[in-house]
Symmetry: C2
């Protein structure tokens, strides 16, 4: 429990890789997948999603690939996680209000406080802090 997914891991690895590549060069899926031992097709899907989210820019064709588009200093880890994996919460009822136990639940309020702490923590960290 309380783990990040491989999807997020792979996305971070790729971002850091691009961040460290020279300014105007692009990194291809194959290059990144090979270097870090990531399943190529899986990484491809993740990079495509990041491109849709405008985190990175895609360049098609031979000698194509991706490069960083967004300002990583302005994107929090919380926003990044939510872009890739959806709402961030310790429990589903933070967003989803259809828990049948809602009425009788006796730990909702205290857990929401903890939850907010976690969200704050990830809000205060920028992507740049991971990738630089």
């Amino acid at each position: 429990m309380l783990k990040i997914t491989r999807k997020v891991e792979y996305a971070l690895i790729a971002l850091r890789h691009m961040q460290q590549a020279s300014e105007h060069s692009v990194s291809s899926t194959t290059e990144i997948a090979t270097q870090y031992g990531i399943p190529q097709h899986l990484l491809a899907k993740i990079l495509q999603q990041m491109a849709r989210d405008n985190l990175i820019q895609a360049l098609k064709g031979p000698a194509g690939g991706y490069k960083i588009k967004a300002d990583l200093d302005k994107i929090s880890l919380k926003d990044f996680f939510e872009k890739l994996e959806g709402p961030l919460g310790l429990m589903d009822c933070y967003f989803n209000t259809d828990c049948l136990q809602m009425k009788s639940c006796n730990i909702l309020t205290p857990l929401q406080r903890i939850n907010q702490n976690m969200r704050d923590m990830f809000s205060k960290t920028t992507l740049m802090e991971i990738t630089q």
Copy 2:
């Protein structure tokens, strides 16, 4: 991702229930399961584990049940989570050193810092803050 398990949820609900019951009374599995809509057998296993961990005390036989044994003020949420679910880390490689990508991983160090932040956060919160 980054969710607590139902097991932990149920454990917290049960603890809070016992905490709010009168000092010398015991709460049975059936009573708690019924009140909060928790599968009885599942809750039973969880309470048994908490009893083994000396968080609560079991009383067998008719009119039996459980009551709080530990000092909830002295137990951090981190320790509680680890008792129930094992090592607490954003990624497995925090404890488990058999990740094949370890050598090439370019985000290990920054992620470990984030991980430590999370552990610190749960270390600073006591069980009492959830159950009182």
